[in-house]
């Protein structure tokens, strides 16, 4: 499928989030901190602020292993992979009436040095830098989509 085509609902994607926060204290009285799984990286944020539509980087689980996806990260800190069924993304998009929230093929967004078979596995999640009307400046609405997706994720085995 060419870049931009939507993944099937039954597909599972892996998301390896950028580490965007340092946990100083975890209260034992509540749930573990909600990881900001879909936070934009600094590069993605700059693109968005420059007016470009951003596809948040993810991987098609059917085409790459968890270790293979983790190996694409150059960050020196420990990273964790999360998995998410595309149907859940579609459900959140429906709930929020957010047509831009979708998972699409995105070989062009793979790391430049990635091997062809790795590039083939790269997908993107659109709409996380925009509200349902396509505007980039309603932070609360963007946070709601990110939180809903994070709650739908599971740690990837």
């Amino acid at each position: 499928m060419p870049d931009g085509d939507r993944l099937a609902p039954q597909a599972v994607v892996l998301r390896i989030p950028a580490v965007t926060q340092t946990v100083l204290h975890v209260s034992g009285a509540q749930r573990q901190p909600l990881p900001d799984v879909f936070a934009l990286s600094s590069g993605e944020r700059k693109l968005s602020e420059a007016g470009h539509r951003v596809l948040v980087s993810a991987w098609d689980r059917a085409k790459i292993t968890v270790d293979g996806a983790l190996a694409q990260r150059t960050s020196p800190v420990d990273v964790v992979a999360f998995s998410l069924r595309v149907a859940r993304v579609d459900a959140v998009a429906n709930e929020l009436a957010h047509p831009e929230l979708r998972v699409v093929e995105d070989r062009a967004g793979a790391p430049a040095e990635a091997a062809p078979e790795v590039r083939e596995a790269h997908v993107g999640i659109g709409g996380l830098d925009r509200d349902p009307e396509g505007h980039p400046n309603r932070k609360r609405v963007r946070k709601e989509a990110r939180a809903a997706l994070a709650l739908a994720c599971d740690p990837a085995a």
Partner: protein, 184 residues
């Protein structure tokens, strides 16, 4: 709970009066507005925190208590006290402590404490039903977000842009999220 009032100015801090009457507070608050002196009241026994006194009314703006006064873990206080050692500047750490002082007046459950990539200090309540975070940005402005799992999608509340003042909605969300586990 006993209470004292601190007068903080460029020349230092001093205790103005233990158990000061509200009328006296108003008097000092008015003086503070004219002379860039800042007043804080200290709830000594319940929280060991500072909360700012509103300069117009002489009273602190606080959400309604959600439970009896409570103690927070030493680990939480240590994390809050460690902000400057983690690169947060003094004024920013002071603003974070000030926000916590206001939040703590409602006796919420103990939050998580995080530092974000943007340098914000963030208090997070994440219960079975409610998610609420309140962040103090470098410079002292606020961002916040509230989500109720049982509410319809699209009904979250929060700031779209950094805010200088916290709206009434913020305190209502803080009360709901802070009460969720406050009984534990």
């Amino acid at each position: 709970m006993s209470e004292v009032t601190l007068q903080i100015s460029a020349s230092g801090a001093r205790i103005v009066s233990p158990g000061v009457a509200s009328g006296t507070k108003t008097h000092f608050a008015a003086a503070a507005a004219a002379s860039a002196v800042v007043l804080f009241s200290v709830a000594v026994e319940a929280h060991d925190v500072l909360r700012p006194v509103d300069r117009a009314s002489g009273s602190a703006q606080v959400p309604a208590p959600v439970s009896a006064p409570r103690r927070y873990s030493q680990a939480f206080w240590n994390a809050l006290a460690s902000l400057t050692s983690r690169g947060v500047d003094g004024a920013h750490a002071g603003a974070a402590n000030e926000l916590w002082g206001m939040l703590a007046d409602a006796h919420p459950s103990e939050p998580d404490l995080l530092l974000t990539e943007d340098g914000a200090v963030k208090f997070v309540w994440f219960g079975d039903r409610y998610y609420f975070d309140a962040a103090v940005l470098p410079g002292g402005r606020y961002e916040w977000f509230f989500r109720d799992d049982r509410a319809p999608a699209g009904s979250s509340r929060g700031s779209d842009d950094p805010e200088s003042e916290l709206p009434p909605d913020f305190w209502e969300c803080a009360r709901l999220a802070g009460a969720e586990r406050a009984g534990r």
